[in-house]
């Protein structure tokens, strides 16, 4: 087993070249998808209309006001939700959790609803803040309940999370019903990029920045997932790391819910696929998670725009089918591996 000590020597050249080739291909795919996304829509925006002199610049304005913001919003959302899911999985040390299966998203929705009811005129930033605080509280509650579950097996963790999300969701629906806000609640429940315009999505840059923070701190979350004693022994502030993780995940979820609505299962599917593809080295997998997250949301959004052209199907709906199907596959596959 000496070879294991010097892995660089034993690695043949081909895999290393593949290591370079694969990211290049993935980046290329995301770029191609992004460009495709720019040119799909009801109004005619194409290279020729953009360049032709006869047009009055409408196409260019549409591109700047609607198409580019939309594509950027999709990329940022995909990157951030993928990373948020990965962080959640590291903290709970469980592959089947993500913000929408542990109640973070539902708690954030409850937060938005509370602000909307109490201070209807509150600025967007305040709504996001309150949503994030609720998200932190909900996620913390989940982790707290988890500590009390007598047998903490892999499958109980997501079960408890989904149920907690259901309970918080019921409370939210209850008040939304009372205050006649069911319709606006629906707009948060189903992620949809069709309303994204310049001036209405810029907060998503914040979640992009948070994803970068997540990348920088990724190793710490791996350590924190090992438990309090282990973390403290390694000289890390356990509470600090967990708090940072909670705030990151909750802020990302809150901002995404407020601007585009819930995008379910993304944070679950993407890190799992990456782990199947390249393994569990967190530092290495974060860029992949970001790329794959962006790519998956792009594909789902493009699909949603094409299936019933010229009408749109929200990306949240498309992803709930794709995501749930993948989740089922992962569940049944994991059983086979364990058994």
């Amino acid at each position: 087993m000496i070879t294991e000590l010097s892995p660089t020597d034993t690695q043949p050249t081909t895999p290393r070249r593949r290591v370079l080739l694969l990211p290049a291909l993935a980046v290329l795919a995301v770029v191609v998808l992004s460009i495709t996304s720019l040119f799909i829509g009801v109004s005619d925006v194409s290279i020729s209309t953009l360049l032709s002199d006869s047009s009055d610049g409408t196409a260019g304005r549409i591109l700047l006001i609607s198409r580019i913001p939309r594509t950027l919003a999709i990329l940022l959302t995909g990157i951030a939700l993928g990373v948020a899911g990965l962080l959640m999985q590291l903290m709970a040390r469980n592959k089947f959790v993500e913000p929408s299966t542990v109640g973070t998203v539902e708690s954030a929705m409850l937060g938005i609803l509370v602000v909307t009811i109490l201070v209807p005129a509150a600025p967007l930033l305040a709504k996001m803040g309150v949503a994030a605080v609720f998200g932190v509280a909900g996620t913390a509650l989940f982790l707290l309940i988890l500590q009390r579950v007598p047998l903490r097996n892999t499958l109980v963790v997501p079960l408890v999370g989904i149920m907690l999300g259901g309970i918080v969701g019921a409370v939210t629906t209850f008040f939304a019903y009372r205050f006649d806000l069911l319709q606006s609640l629906n707009s948060w429940m189903v992620g949809d990029f069709s309303g994204v315009l310049a001036g209405r999505y810029e907060f998503l840059w914040l979640v992009g920045a948070l994803a970068v923070v997540g990348y920088i701190a990724a190793d710490r979350f791996t350590v924190a997932g090992m438990g309090k004693d282990f973390t403290t022994n390694l000289g890390l502030n356990y509470r600090g790391v967990m708090a940072l993780g909670l705030v990151l995940v909750s802020l990302i979820s809150a901002v995404v819910v407020v601007t585009v609505g819930a995008v379910p299962f993304l944070g679950l599917v993407v890190p799992n696929l990456v782990s199947m593809l390249i393994g569990d080295n967190v530092r290495r997998s974060v860029p992949w998670v970001a790329l794959l997250g962006a790519g998956l949301v792009l594909v789902c959004d493009i699909l949603g725009r094409l299936i019933r052209y010229p009408y749109e199907i929200p990306v949240g709906t498309v992803l709930s089918v794709v995501g749930a199907a993948t989740f089922l596959y992962l569940l049944l596959r994991s059983r086979r591996n364990v058994a």
Partner: protein, 335 residues
């Protein structure tokens, strides 16, 4: 057979204060409560045109009683067959499947054709499909063995999510005007139950009940677990199929009447087991049904009269049921 798969009958012997009353007494008390609630519901605040108000209220009461019956019986029987106290047809995605089938039919043949097809034909078609699904599910549950209940639960819940996802996808693809018709088909809450639907549902429930009555003696034996039941001479496979068919029919009825209520069955069955000192279906089944009726009638009455708004009942049930579910998980009653 490991201790945790031991029949509910053995574990239910632990006496709690509630169980000092015999099951017969409980049935009596609960029946009186249901009767009182029905009378209150029909007569409270009675004014205006009686010829209009009374039939409206009677419709509501009938719908609630039918739903209580369908959910109570189907949940307890399903739990008997699957040998657990936490899986219910709703949690395993049956309601969501029913809605998916409705949507799929509307999507492929159109709501117009769906309406003209006749409630009977439609119903039979849907029930056949649902039984097919439950049979596959059941096969998966028991063939190969050693499946953890948690896995089954999680798979069920995710199946439910998947079905709902596909339904909403299909609903988006349907013409908006057709979608309105479809929505009316699904979410007939207690306030606007179609009286013709009530008739069909009552008949269907009656048919399912007769089928159940004929095999009633086998329920307690089934509760002892597969091996014991087989040793005692029950044709396990056939009986289980029959029970699953009955469950599917009942779930279809309750979903058609009021839409999906995920945790109602869990709630009712859990309390029924708590009250019943002996686990025998002749006691547990009626107690579950009566508890369901009390929950629906009492809940609706409270919401309408005290809070002054309707239809949020399923939300309240969802809330309490979710808490009970987590409590059951925390108690470790699922292993």
């Amino acid at each position: 057979m490991s201790p945790d798969t031991l029949p509910a009958a053995v574990r239910a012997r632990r006496r709690t204060p509630l169980k000092t009353l015999g099951p017969g007494t409980w049935i009596l008390i609960l029946s009186v409560a249901v009767a009182a609630l029905v009378v209150t519901f029909m007569t409270i605040d009675l004014k205006g045109n009686l010829g209009y108000v009374l039939p409206l209220r009677a419709n509501k009461v009938a719908a609630m009683l039918l739903v209580a019956y369908a959910v109570g019986i189907s949940t307890v029987l399903f739990q008997t067959v699957t040998g657990n106290r936490i899986l219910t047809p709703s949690i395993m995605g049956f309601d969501a499947l029913y809605i998916l089938l409705q949507t799929f039919l509307a999507f492929t043949i159109g709501t117009q054709a769906l309406m003209t097809m006749g409630a009977g034909t439609r119903f039979i078609l849907e029930v056949v499909l649902m039984v097919g699904f439950s049979w596959l599910l059941y096969r998966w549950l028991f063939v190969g063995g050693g499946k953890s209940l948690h896995l089954v639960l999680l798979v069920g819940i995710v199946f439910g999510t998947l079905f709902r996802g596909i339904s909403s996808l299909l609903q988006r693809l349907i013409d908006p005007s057709e979608f309105v018709v479809l929505q009316d088909l699904f979410f007939a809450s207690f306030n606007n139950v179609d009286s013709s639907l009530l008739g069909v549902s009552a008949l269907t429930i009656l048919a399912a009940s007769i089928a159940g009555w004929r095999i009633r003696n086998r329920f307690d034996v089934l509760a002892l677990g597969r091996e014991t039941a087989v040793n005692l001479g029950v044709n396990h496979r056939t009986t289980v199929t029959q029970v699953l068919v009955i469950c599917s029919v009942l779930v279809a009825v309750s979903t058609a009447l009021v839409g999906p209520i995920t945790f109602f069955g869990l709630l009712v069955a859990s309390v029924a087991y708590q009250l019943c000192s002996v686990f025998r279906h002749r006691y547990v089944l009626p107690i579950a049904v009566l508890l369901g009726a009390i929950a629906l009638l009492g809940g609706q009455l409270t919401l309408e009269r005290i809070f002054g708004f309707d239809t949020a009942l399923s939300i309240v049930i969802e809330f309490i049921g979710g808490i009970v579910f987590i409590a059951l998980l925390l108690k470790g009653s699922v292993k």
